[in-house]
Amino acid sequence: MKILVCISHVPDTTSKINFTDGDTKFDTNGVQFVINPNDEFGLTRAMWFKEKQAAIVHVATVGGPETEPTLRKALAIGADEAIRVNTVATDGFSVAKQLANIAKEGGYDLVIGGRESIDYNGGMVPGMLAKLIGANFVNTCIGIEVEGDKATAIREIDGGKETLKTSLPLVIGGQKGLVEESDLRIPNMRGIMQARTKPLNVKEPIASNAETNTVSFEKPAPKGAVKLVDNVDELIDLLHNEAKVI
Protein backbone atom coordinates (compact mmCIF):
# COMPACT_ATOMS: atom_id res chain seq x y z
CA MET A 1 0.00 0.00 0.00
CA LYS A 2 1.24 3.47 -0.90
CA ILE A 3 0.12 6.34 1.29
CA LEU A 4 0.48 10.04 0.65
CA VAL A 5 0.09 12.32 3.66
CA CYS A 6 -0.58 15.93 2.71
CA ILE A 7 1.02 18.27 5.17
CA SER A 8 0.17 21.89 5.76
CA HIS A 9 2.89 24.04 7.31
CA VAL A 10 1.03 26.19 9.85
CA PRO A 11 1.71 28.49 12.81
CA ASP A 12 1.79 26.68 16.14
CA THR A 13 -1.58 26.75 17.95
CA THR A 14 -0.28 29.18 20.56
CA SER A 15 0.93 31.75 17.99
CA LYS A 16 -0.05 35.37 18.27
CA ILE A 17 -1.86 36.29 15.08
CA ASN A 18 -0.70 39.55 13.50
CA PHE A 19 -0.57 40.97 10.00
CA THR A 20 1.91 43.14 8.11
CA ASP A 21 2.15 45.08 4.85
CA GLY A 22 -1.00 47.05 5.50
CA ASP A 23 -2.84 44.00 6.86
CA THR A 24 -2.36 42.03 3.67
CA LYS A 25 0.09 39.38 4.91
CA PHE A 26 0.35 37.10 7.91
CA ASP A 27 3.20 38.24 10.14
CA THR A 28 5.56 35.27 10.47
CA ASN A 29 7.91 37.20 12.76
CA GLY A 30 8.64 35.12 15.85
CA VAL A 31 6.12 32.48 14.82
CA GLN A 32 6.94 28.81 15.21
CA PHE A 33 5.66 26.64 12.35
CA VAL A 34 4.49 23.08 12.84
CA ILE A 35 2.81 20.21 11.03
CA ASN A 36 -0.90 21.08 10.96
CA PRO A 37 -2.37 19.15 13.94
CA ASN A 38 -5.08 17.44 11.88
CA ASP A 39 -2.39 16.28 9.43
CA GLU A 40 -0.20 15.02 12.25
CA PHE A 41 -2.96 12.71 13.47
CA GLY A 42 -3.10 11.37 9.89
CA LEU A 43 0.67 11.02 9.64
CA THR A 44 0.73 9.08 12.89
CA ARG A 45 -1.98 6.77 11.61
CA ALA A 46 0.09 6.31 8.43
CA MET A 47 3.02 5.20 10.63
CA TRP A 48 0.74 2.53 12.03
CA PHE A 49 0.03 1.30 8.47
CA LYS A 50 3.76 1.33 7.79
CA GLU A 51 4.52 -0.79 10.81
CA LYS A 52 1.57 -3.21 10.66
CA GLN A 53 0.91 -3.44 6.94
CA ALA A 54 4.28 -2.50 5.42
CA ALA A 55 2.86 0.61 3.79
CA ILE A 56 5.15 3.06 2.03
CA VAL A 57 4.51 6.55 3.34
CA HIS A 58 5.25 9.74 1.44
CA VAL A 59 4.49 13.25 2.63
CA ALA A 60 3.88 16.28 0.45
CA THR A 61 3.37 19.97 0.88
CA VAL A 62 2.91 22.95 -1.39
CA GLY A 63 5.17 25.82 -0.41
CA GLY A 64 8.53 27.51 -0.53
CA PRO A 65 11.84 26.32 1.00
CA GLU A 66 10.69 27.63 4.39
CA THR A 67 8.37 24.61 4.66
CA GLU A 68 11.24 22.11 4.48
CA PRO A 69 11.87 21.87 8.25
CA THR A 70 8.23 20.80 8.62
CA LEU A 71 8.73 18.10 5.97
CA ARG A 72 11.98 17.00 7.65
CA LYS A 73 10.05 16.62 10.88
CA ALA A 74 7.58 14.36 9.09
CA LEU A 75 10.53 12.31 7.79
CA ALA A 76 11.97 12.17 11.31
CA ILE A 77 8.63 10.85 12.58
CA GLY A 78 9.00 8.06 10.02
CA ALA A 79 7.78 9.01 6.55
CA ASP A 80 9.92 7.44 3.81
CA GLU A 81 10.04 10.28 1.36
CA ALA A 82 8.96 13.91 1.12
CA ILE A 83 7.79 16.00 -1.82
CA ARG A 84 7.67 19.76 -1.89
CA VAL A 85 5.83 21.47 -4.71
CA ASN A 86 7.83 24.62 -5.13
CA THR A 87 5.20 27.32 -5.29
CA VAL A 88 3.42 29.67 -2.95
CA ALA A 89 0.20 28.15 -1.63
CA THR A 90 -2.35 30.73 -2.73
CA ASP A 91 -5.79 29.24 -2.26
CA GLY A 92 -7.31 25.87 -1.44
CA PHE A 93 -8.12 25.02 -5.03
CA SER A 94 -4.63 25.68 -6.40
CA VAL A 95 -3.10 23.61 -3.57
CA ALA A 96 -5.56 20.78 -4.25
CA LYS A 97 -4.63 20.86 -7.92
CA GLN A 98 -0.89 20.58 -7.20
CA LEU A 99 -1.45 17.76 -4.71
CA ALA A 100 -3.84 15.98 -7.08
CA ASN A 101 -1.03 15.93 -9.63
CA ILE A 102 1.37 14.44 -7.07
CA ALA A 103 -1.26 11.88 -6.04
CA LYS A 104 -1.91 10.86 -9.65
CA GLU A 105 1.76 10.57 -10.55
CA GLY A 106 2.58 8.55 -7.45
CA GLY A 107 -0.36 6.15 -7.77
CA TYR A 108 -1.20 6.29 -4.08
CA ASP A 109 -3.87 4.00 -2.64
CA LEU A 110 -4.65 6.22 0.29
CA VAL A 111 -4.25 9.99 0.52
CA ILE A 112 -4.49 11.42 4.01
CA GLY A 113 -5.14 15.10 4.56
CA GLY A 114 -6.44 17.01 7.56
CA ARG A 115 -10.05 18.07 8.11
CA GLU A 116 -8.80 21.64 7.94
CA SER A 117 -5.62 23.60 8.40
CA ILE A 118 -5.62 25.65 11.56
CA ASP A 119 -4.54 28.81 9.74
CA TYR A 120 -7.00 29.44 6.92
CA ASN A 121 -9.60 26.88 8.03
CA GLY A 122 -10.62 26.29 4.43
CA GLY A 123 -11.22 22.57 4.93
CA MET A 124 -11.42 22.10 1.18
CA VAL A 125 -8.12 20.65 -0.02
CA PRO A 126 -8.77 16.93 0.63
CA GLY A 127 -12.30 17.05 -0.82
CA MET A 128 -11.19 18.92 -3.94
CA LEU A 129 -8.20 16.64 -4.38
CA ALA A 130 -10.46 13.58 -4.20
CA LYS A 131 -12.82 15.02 -6.80
CA LEU A 132 -9.93 15.97 -9.08
CA ILE A 133 -8.50 12.44 -9.09
CA GLY A 134 -11.88 10.68 -8.97
CA ALA A 135 -11.19 8.96 -5.65
CA ASN A 136 -13.63 8.27 -2.85
CA PHE A 137 -13.58 10.74 0.00
CA VAL A 138 -14.38 10.65 3.71
CA ASN A 139 -14.20 13.86 5.70
CA THR A 140 -13.92 14.34 9.49
CA CYS A 141 -12.42 10.87 9.52
CA ILE A 142 -11.71 9.42 12.97
CA GLY A 143 -10.87 5.83 12.04
CA ILE A 144 -9.50 4.03 9.02
CA GLU A 145 -8.72 0.37 8.29
CA VAL A 146 -7.58 -1.02 4.95
CA GLU A 147 -7.79 -4.58 3.72
CA GLY A 148 -6.78 -5.30 0.13
CA ASP A 149 -8.52 -2.66 -1.94
CA LYS A 150 -11.35 -2.19 0.57
CA ALA A 151 -11.42 0.36 3.34
CA THR A 152 -13.57 0.91 6.38
CA ALA A 153 -13.69 4.48 7.58
CA ILE A 154 -15.36 6.06 10.56
CA ARG A 155 -16.65 9.56 10.16
CA GLU A 156 -17.56 11.94 12.95
CA ILE A 157 -21.09 13.27 12.46
CA ASP A 158 -23.08 15.70 14.58
CA GLY A 159 -23.66 13.92 17.85
CA GLY A 160 -22.04 10.64 16.91
CA LYS A 161 -20.25 8.64 14.28
CA GLU A 162 -20.92 6.76 11.08
CA THR A 163 -19.05 3.73 9.75
CA LEU A 164 -18.55 3.55 6.00
CA LYS A 165 -17.30 0.84 3.67
CA THR A 166 -15.60 1.96 0.52
CA SER A 167 -12.79 1.09 -1.84
CA LEU A 168 -9.37 2.44 -2.72
CA PRO A 169 -8.16 4.84 -3.93
CA LEU A 170 -9.47 6.82 -1.03
CA VAL A 171 -8.84 10.33 0.28
CA ILE A 172 -9.60 11.20 3.88
CA GLY A 173 -9.84 14.48 5.78
CA GLY A 174 -8.50 13.31 9.11
CA GLN A 175 -8.62 14.64 12.65
CA LYS A 176 -8.08 13.60 16.24
CA GLY A 177 -9.48 10.12 16.69
CA LEU A 178 -7.46 8.63 13.82
CA VAL A 179 -4.98 8.26 16.66
CA GLU A 180 -5.07 9.66 20.17
CA GLU A 181 -3.13 12.70 21.32
CA SER A 182 -0.93 10.38 23.38
CA ASP A 183 -0.01 8.38 20.24
CA LEU A 184 1.65 11.37 18.59
CA ARG A 185 5.38 10.88 18.19
CA ILE A 186 8.18 13.20 19.06
CA PRO A 187 11.06 12.49 16.67
CA ASN A 188 13.97 10.79 18.42
CA MET A 189 17.64 11.37 17.62
CA ARG A 190 17.81 8.34 15.34
CA GLY A 191 14.78 9.53 13.41
CA ILE A 192 16.22 13.02 13.07
CA MET A 193 19.55 11.63 11.80
CA GLN A 194 17.79 9.35 9.29
CA ALA A 195 15.58 12.18 8.10
CA ARG A 196 18.65 14.08 6.91
CA THR A 197 19.41 11.45 4.31
CA LYS A 198 15.87 10.60 3.25
CA PRO A 199 14.78 12.01 -0.12
CA LEU A 200 13.11 15.41 -0.11
CA ASN A 201 12.14 15.95 -3.72
CA VAL A 202 11.40 19.43 -4.93
CA LYS A 203 8.96 19.49 -7.83
CA GLU A 204 8.05 22.44 -9.94
CA PRO A 205 4.33 23.26 -9.95
CA ILE A 206 1.97 22.45 -12.78
CA ALA A 207 -0.04 25.25 -14.34
CA SER A 208 -2.80 26.14 -11.94
CA ASN A 209 -5.15 28.96 -11.20
CA ALA A 210 -6.35 30.38 -7.92
CA GLU A 211 -10.10 30.86 -7.68
CA THR A 212 -10.03 33.08 -4.64
CA ASN A 213 -7.72 35.82 -3.55
CA THR A 214 -7.46 37.18 -0.02
CA VAL A 215 -7.20 40.95 -0.19
CA SER A 216 -6.82 41.89 3.47
CA PHE A 217 -6.97 40.70 7.06
CA GLU A 218 -8.29 42.22 10.23
CA LYS A 219 -8.43 41.27 13.86
CA PRO A 220 -11.63 41.23 15.91
CA ALA A 221 -12.37 44.41 17.85
CA PRO A 222 -11.09 44.23 21.42
CA LYS A 223 -13.65 42.84 23.79
CA GLY A 224 -15.15 44.78 26.62
CA ALA A 225 -14.29 43.80 30.19
CA VAL A 226 -16.03 40.86 31.80
CA LYS A 227 -18.91 41.66 34.13
CA LEU A 228 -18.25 39.83 37.36
CA VAL A 229 -21.29 38.92 39.42
CA ASP A 230 -21.55 37.58 42.95
CA ASN A 231 -24.47 35.25 42.74
CA VAL A 232 -26.49 33.17 40.35
CA ASP A 233 -29.64 35.32 40.62
CA GLU A 234 -27.77 38.26 39.23
CA LEU A 235 -26.32 36.09 36.45
CA ILE A 236 -29.74 34.78 35.44
CA ASP A 237 -31.12 38.31 35.45
CA LEU A 238 -28.31 39.57 33.19
CA LEU A 239 -28.59 36.64 30.80
CA HIS A 240 -32.33 37.19 30.54
CA ASN A 241 -32.67 40.99 30.52
CA GLU A 242 -29.35 42.24 29.21
CA ALA A 243 -27.89 39.52 26.96
CA LYS A 244 -31.35 38.12 26.15
CA VAL A 245 -30.04 34.62 25.61
CA ILE A 246 -32.30 32.75 28.03
Binding site: F93, G123, M128, L132, N136, G160, T214, S216, K219, I236
Partner: protein
Protein backbone atom coordinates in the same frame (compact mmCIF):
# COMPACT_ATOMS: atom_id res chain seq x y z
CA UNK B 1 -30.06 33.65 -9.45
CA UNK B 2 -28.84 32.61 -6.02
CA UNK B 3 -29.11 28.92 -5.15
CA UNK B 4 -29.21 27.84 -1.54
CA UNK B 5 -28.90 24.28 -0.34
CA UNK B 6 -31.35 23.81 2.53
CA UNK B 7 -30.18 20.96 4.71
CA UNK B 8 -32.66 18.80 6.49
CA UNK B 9 -32.45 16.02 9.00
CA UNK B 10 -35.02 13.26 9.09
CA UNK B 11 -37.15 15.31 6.74
CA UNK B 12 -37.06 18.48 8.80
CA UNK B 13 -35.34 21.62 7.46
CA UNK B 14 -32.56 22.68 9.82
CA UNK B 15 -32.49 26.08 11.44
CA UNK B 16 -29.08 26.85 9.93
CA UNK B 17 -30.66 26.23 6.51
CA UNK B 18 -33.28 28.91 7.20
CA UNK B 19 -30.49 31.29 8.12
CA UNK B 20 -28.77 30.38 4.84
CA UNK B 21 -31.99 31.22 2.92
CA UNK B 22 -32.22 34.59 4.67
CA UNK B 23 -28.59 35.24 3.79
CA UNK B 24 -29.11 34.17 0.16
CA UNK B 25 -32.01 36.62 0.00
CA UNK B 26 -29.66 39.34 1.26
CA UNK B 27 -27.24 38.63 -1.61
CA UNK B 28 -30.12 38.39 -4.10
CA UNK B 29 -31.24 41.88 -3.06
CA UNK B 30 -27.70 43.19 -3.51
CA UNK B 31 -27.54 41.69 -6.99
CA UNK B 32 -31.13 42.34 -8.03
CA UNK B 33 -32.09 38.70 -8.42
CA UNK B 34 -34.04 35.95 -6.66
CA UNK B 35 -33.40 32.92 -4.46
CA UNK B 36 -34.00 29.30 -5.39
CA UNK B 37 -33.70 26.68 -2.65
CA UNK B 38 -32.88 23.04 -3.25
CA UNK B 39 -33.90 20.52 -0.61
CA UNK B 40 -33.33 16.80 -0.50
CA UNK B 41 -36.00 14.58 1.03
CA UNK B 42 -37.48 17.34 3.20
CA UNK B 43 -41.09 16.77 4.22
CA UNK B 44 -42.16 20.34 4.59
CA UNK B 45 -40.50 23.23 2.78
CA UNK B 46 -43.27 25.76 3.37
CA UNK B 47 -41.10 27.75 5.77
CA UNK B 48 -38.49 28.58 3.13
CA UNK B 49 -40.64 31.29 1.54
CA UNK B 50 -40.80 33.10 4.85
CA UNK B 51 -37.06 33.72 4.69
CA UNK B 52 -36.93 34.79 1.07
CA UNK B 53 -36.93 31.80 -1.30
CA UNK B 54 -39.10 32.35 -4.36
CA UNK B 55 -38.59 28.93 -5.89
CA UNK B 56 -38.08 25.60 -4.19
CA UNK B 57 -36.64 22.56 -5.93
CA UNK B 58 -37.73 19.47 -4.08
CA UNK B 59 -35.74 16.31 -4.54
CA UNK B 60 -37.37 13.11 -3.33
CA UNK B 61 -35.31 10.01 -3.79
CA UNK B 62 -35.07 6.97 -1.52
CA UNK B 63 -31.45 6.46 -2.51
CA UNK B 64 -30.66 9.81 -0.91
CA UNK B 65 -32.20 8.85 2.43
CA UNK B 66 -28.85 9.12 4.17
CA UNK B 67 -26.44 11.97 3.72
CA UNK B 68 -24.00 11.14 0.94
CA UNK B 69 -21.55 13.92 0.12
CA UNK B 70 -20.77 12.74 -3.42
CA UNK B 71 -24.40 12.32 -4.45
CA UNK B 72 -25.66 15.42 -2.64
CA UNK B 73 -22.93 17.54 -4.25
CA UNK B 74 -24.00 16.11 -7.59
CA UNK B 75 -27.64 17.06 -6.94
CA UNK B 76 -26.75 20.63 -5.96
CA UNK B 77 -24.41 21.02 -8.94
CA UNK B 78 -27.16 19.93 -11.32
CA UNK B 79 -29.62 22.30 -9.69
CA UNK B 80 -27.07 25.13 -10.00
CA UNK B 81 -26.51 24.39 -13.68
CA UNK B 82 -30.23 24.08 -14.44
CA UNK B 83 -30.99 27.35 -12.75
CA UNK B 84 -27.87 29.11 -14.08
CA UNK B 85 -26.95 30.06 -10.51
CA UNK B 86 -24.25 32.68 -10.06
CA UNK B 87 -23.89 32.15 -6.33
CA UNK B 88 -24.46 28.96 -4.33
CA UNK B 89 -24.94 29.29 -0.58
CA UNK B 90 -24.35 26.38 1.78
CA UNK B 91 -23.91 26.38 5.56
CA UNK B 92 -20.75 25.62 7.52
CA UNK B 93 -22.17 22.44 9.01
CA UNK B 94 -20.02 19.30 8.92
CA UNK B 95 -22.11 17.94 6.06
CA UNK B 96 -21.94 21.13 4.01
CA UNK B 97 -18.17 21.29 4.53
CA UNK B 98 -17.99 17.67 3.39
CA UNK B 99 -19.82 18.24 0.12
CA UNK B 100 -18.78 21.80 -0.80
CA UNK B 101 -15.26 20.98 -2.12
CA UNK B 102 -16.67 18.43 -4.59
CA UNK B 103 -19.37 20.91 -5.57
CA UNK B 104 -16.71 23.58 -6.14
CA UNK B 105 -14.67 21.33 -8.43
CA UNK B 106 -17.79 20.26 -10.29
CA UNK B 107 -18.95 23.84 -10.90
CA UNK B 108 -15.42 25.24 -11.32
CA UNK B 109 -16.46 27.66 -8.63
CA UNK B 110 -14.34 29.41 -6.03
CA UNK B 111 -15.44 28.46 -2.52
CA UNK B 112 -15.07 30.39 0.72
CA UNK B 113 -16.31 28.84 3.98
CA UNK B 114 -16.95 30.43 7.40
CA UNK B 115 -18.36 33.60 5.85
CA UNK B 116 -19.66 36.00 8.49
CA UNK B 117 -21.55 38.71 6.60
CA UNK B 118 -23.08 39.74 3.29
CA UNK B 119 -20.55 40.36 0.48
CA UNK B 120 -18.66 43.63 0.95
CA UNK B 121 -19.10 44.09 -2.76
CA UNK B 122 -20.57 41.90 -5.48
CA UNK B 123 -18.33 43.21 -8.28
CA UNK B 124 -15.62 42.27 -7.53
CA UNK B 125 -17.28 39.62 -5.37
CA UNK B 126 -15.69 40.01 -1.96
CA UNK B 127 -16.65 38.31 1.28
CA UNK B 128 -15.45 38.45 4.86
CA UNK B 129 -14.77 35.15 6.60
CA UNK B 130 -13.15 33.97 9.78
CA UNK B 131 -9.61 32.54 9.64
CA UNK B 132 -7.03 31.41 12.20
CA UNK B 133 -9.88 29.73 14.09
CA UNK B 134 -11.71 32.99 14.74
CA UNK B 135 -8.60 34.87 15.79
CA UNK B 136 -8.86 37.00 12.63
CA UNK B 137 -11.02 37.77 9.61
CA UNK B 138 -10.03 37.84 5.96
CA UNK B 139 -11.60 39.68 3.04
CA UNK B 140 -11.42 37.40 0.05
CA UNK B 141 -12.32 37.97 -3.55
CA UNK B 142 -13.88 35.08 -5.47
CA UNK B 143 -12.76 35.41 -9.06
CA UNK B 144 -14.67 32.58 -10.76
CA UNK B 145 -17.91 32.96 -12.65
CA UNK B 146 -19.86 30.91 -10.09
CA UNK B 147 -19.22 31.51 -6.40
CA UNK B 148 -19.82 29.18 -3.46
CA UNK B 149 -20.28 30.61 0.01
CA UNK B 150 -20.29 28.62 3.22
CA UNK B 151 -22.16 30.76 5.75
CA UNK B 152 -20.93 30.57 9.34
CA UNK B 153 -23.60 29.55 11.83
CA UNK B 154 -25.34 32.32 13.75
CA UNK B 155 -23.56 35.04 11.81
CA UNK B 156 -26.43 36.48 9.77
CA UNK B 157 -29.49 35.66 11.84
CA UNK B 158 -32.94 34.41 10.98
CA UNK B 159 -34.10 37.49 9.10
CA UNK B 160 -37.62 37.04 7.79
CA UNK B 161 -38.50 38.19 4.31
CA UNK B 162 -41.92 36.89 3.32
CA UNK B 163 -41.80 35.85 -0.33
CA UNK B 164 -44.34 33.88 -2.30
CA UNK B 165 -42.61 30.68 -3.18
CA UNK B 166 -43.41 28.11 -5.83
CA UNK B 167 -42.33 24.51 -5.40
CA UNK B 168 -41.42 22.04 -8.06
CA UNK B 169 -40.07 18.53 -8.11
CA UNK B 170 -36.48 18.17 -9.24
CA UNK B 171 -35.12 14.82 -10.41
CA UNK B 172 -31.35 14.86 -10.79
CA UNK B 173 -29.44 12.21 -12.73
CA UNK B 174 -27.41 10.14 -10.34
CA UNK B 175 -24.69 7.76 -11.44
CA UNK B 176 -23.09 4.70 -9.89
CA UNK B 177 -20.08 6.63 -8.59
CA UNK B 178 -22.44 8.60 -6.37
CA UNK B 179 -22.98 5.43 -4.36
CA UNK B 180 -19.45 4.07 -3.96
CA UNK B 181 -19.73 4.39 -0.25
CA UNK B 182 -21.87 2.17 1.89
CA UNK B 183 -23.01 3.19 5.35
CA UNK B 184 -22.46 0.21 7.62
CA UNK B 185 -23.71 1.72 10.84
CA UNK B 186 -24.63 4.97 12.50
CA UNK B 187 -23.98 5.45 16.15
CA UNK B 188 -25.71 8.56 17.35
CA UNK B 189 -27.34 9.70 20.54
CA UNK B 190 -30.79 10.78 19.39
CA UNK B 191 -31.98 12.17 22.69
CA UNK B 192 -29.25 14.78 23.02
CA UNK B 193 -28.85 18.23 21.51
CA UNK B 194 -25.71 18.28 19.39
CA UNK B 195 -23.06 20.98 19.72
CA UNK B 196 -23.62 21.91 16.08
CA UNK B 197 -27.34 22.53 16.54
CA UNK B 198 -27.34 23.91 20.07
CA UNK B 199 -28.36 27.45 20.96
CA UNK B 200 -26.69 26.99 24.32
CA UNK B 201 -23.60 24.94 25.16
CA UNK B 202 -22.51 24.01 28.69
CA UNK B 203 -18.87 23.01 28.81
CA UNK B 204 -16.70 21.54 31.55
CA UNK B 205 -12.95 21.51 32.09
CA UNK B 206 -10.30 20.00 34.29
CA UNK B 207 -11.61 22.04 37.21
CA UNK B 208 -14.36 19.46 37.57
CA UNK B 209 -11.75 17.01 38.84
CA UNK B 210 -13.14 13.83 37.29
CA UNK B 211 -15.74 12.29 34.97
CA UNK B 212 -17.88 11.33 37.96
CA UNK B 213 -18.67 15.01 38.47
CA UNK B 214 -20.29 15.53 35.08
CA UNK B 215 -23.77 14.98 36.50
CA UNK B 216 -24.07 18.64 37.40
CA UNK B 217 -22.99 19.68 33.88
CA UNK B 218 -25.64 17.40 32.39
CA UNK B 219 -28.26 18.73 34.82
CA UNK B 220 -27.50 22.32 33.95
CA UNK B 221 -27.54 21.51 30.23
CA UNK B 222 -30.88 19.77 30.60
CA UNK B 223 -32.56 22.77 32.22
CA UNK B 224 -31.26 25.01 29.45
CA UNK B 225 -31.94 22.58 26.60
CA UNK B 226 -28.22 22.84 25.96
CA UNK B 227 -25.55 20.59 24.49
CA UNK B 228 -22.67 19.46 26.69
CA UNK B 229 -19.06 20.00 25.68
CA UNK B 230 -15.61 19.83 27.21
CA UNK B 231 -12.07 21.15 26.97
CA UNK B 232 -9.23 19.32 25.26
CA UNK B 233 -7.50 17.91 28.39
CA UNK B 234 -10.83 16.45 29.48
CA UNK B 235 -11.28 14.56 26.22
CA UNK B 236 -7.58 13.58 26.10
CA UNK B 237 -7.90 12.02 29.56
CA UNK B 238 -10.96 10.14 28.38
CA UNK B 239 -13.33 11.74 30.87
CA UNK B 240 -15.60 12.68 28.00
CA UNK B 241 -15.90 11.51 24.36
CA UNK B 242 -13.91 13.24 21.59
CA UNK B 243 -17.14 14.39 20.01
CA UNK B 244 -17.56 16.81 22.94
CA UNK B 245 -14.12 18.39 22.60
CA UNK B 246 -14.44 22.01 21.53
CA UNK B 247 -11.54 24.21 20.53
CA UNK B 248 -9.01 24.63 17.77
CA UNK B 249 -8.51 20.93 17.06
CA UNK B 250 -11.97 19.98 18.23
CA UNK B 251 -15.39 21.26 17.29
CA UNK B 252 -16.12 24.92 16.75
CA UNK B 253 -18.94 26.44 18.78
CA UNK B 254 -21.12 29.25 17.46
CA UNK B 255 -23.95 29.17 19.96
CA UNK B 256 -25.88 32.07 21.45
CA UNK B 257 -24.63 31.24 24.92
CA UNK B 258 -21.52 29.34 25.99
CA UNK B 259 -21.08 28.52 29.66
CA UNK B 260 -17.54 27.43 30.62
CA UNK B 261 -17.20 25.69 33.94
CA UNK B 262 -13.78 24.97 35.40
CA UNK B 263 -12.08 25.79 32.08
CA UNK B 264 -9.03 28.03 32.40
CA UNK B 265 -9.28 29.31 28.82
CA UNK B 266 -6.21 28.23 26.86
CA UNK B 267 -5.77 30.19 23.65
CA UNK B 268 -6.70 27.11 21.58
CA UNK B 269 -9.92 26.65 23.51
CA UNK B 270 -10.91 30.30 23.23
CA UNK B 271 -10.28 30.24 19.50
CA UNK B 272 -12.79 27.44 19.06
CA UNK B 273 -15.58 29.12 20.98
CA UNK B 274 -14.96 32.71 19.91
CA UNK B 275 -17.90 32.93 17.58
CA UNK B 276 -20.34 32.21 20.38
CA UNK B 277 -22.34 35.34 21.10
CA UNK B 278 -22.35 35.43 24.90
CA UNK B 279 -19.77 33.71 27.06
CA UNK B 280 -20.09 32.97 30.75
CA UNK B 281 -17.25 31.65 32.88
CA UNK B 282 -17.42 30.02 36.29
CA UNK B 283 -13.99 29.43 37.78
CA UNK B 284 -12.41 29.63 41.21
CA UNK B 285 -9.23 31.20 39.84
CA UNK B 286 -9.79 34.93 39.19
CA UNK B 287 -6.60 34.92 37.10
CA UNK B 288 -7.94 32.32 34.65
CA UNK B 289 -7.49 33.71 31.11
CA UNK B 290 -11.11 32.88 30.34
CA UNK B 291 -12.23 35.90 32.36
CA UNK B 292 -10.60 38.12 29.72
CA UNK B 293 -12.63 36.49 26.96
CA UNK B 294 -15.96 36.21 28.77
CA UNK B 295 -18.92 38.56 28.97
CA UNK B 296 -20.06 37.45 32.41
CA UNK B 297 -18.19 35.66 35.13
CA UNK B 298 -18.50 34.28 38.60
CA UNK B 299 -15.35 33.68 40.62
CA UNK B 300 -16.06 30.76 42.87
CA UNK B 301 -16.32 27.05 43.44
CA UNK B 302 -18.14 25.36 40.56
CA UNK B 303 -19.29 22.58 42.89
CA UNK B 304 -21.31 25.13 44.86
CA UNK B 305 -22.35 27.46 42.06
CA UNK B 306 -23.44 25.07 39.33
CA UNK B 307 -26.08 23.14 41.33
CA UNK B 308 -27.40 26.45 42.65
CA UNK B 309 -27.56 27.87 39.14
CA UNK B 310 -29.44 24.80 37.95
CA UNK B 311 -31.99 25.13 40.77
CA UNK B 312 -32.52 28.84 40.17
CA UNK B 313 -32.84 28.29 36.43
CA UNK B 314 -35.53 25.68 37.05
CA UNK B 315 -37.48 28.27 39.02
CA UNK B 316 -36.84 30.87 36.34
CA UNK B 317 -38.03 28.51 33.60
CA UNK B 318 -41.15 27.63 35.57
CA UNK B 319 -42.02 31.32 35.96
CA UNK B 320 -41.27 32.25 32.38
CA UNK B 321 -42.89 29.41 30.52
Amino acid sequence: MILVYTESEEGKIKKIALEAVAYAKGIADQMGTTVTAVSINANDTSELGKYGASKILQVSNDKLGNFNAEAYADVIAQAAKNEAAKVVVVTSSANSKFLAPALAVNLEAGYVPNVISLPESTSPFKVKHSVFTNKAFASTEITTDIKIIGLGKNSYGLKENETSATSQAFSPNLDAHDFDMEIVSVDKATDKVTIADAEIVVSGGRGLKGPENWGMIEDLAKVLGAATACSKPVSDMGWRPHSEHVGQTGKPVASNLYIAIGISGAIQHLAGINSSKVKVVINNDPEAPFFKAADYGIVGDAFEIVPKLTEKLKEFKAQNS
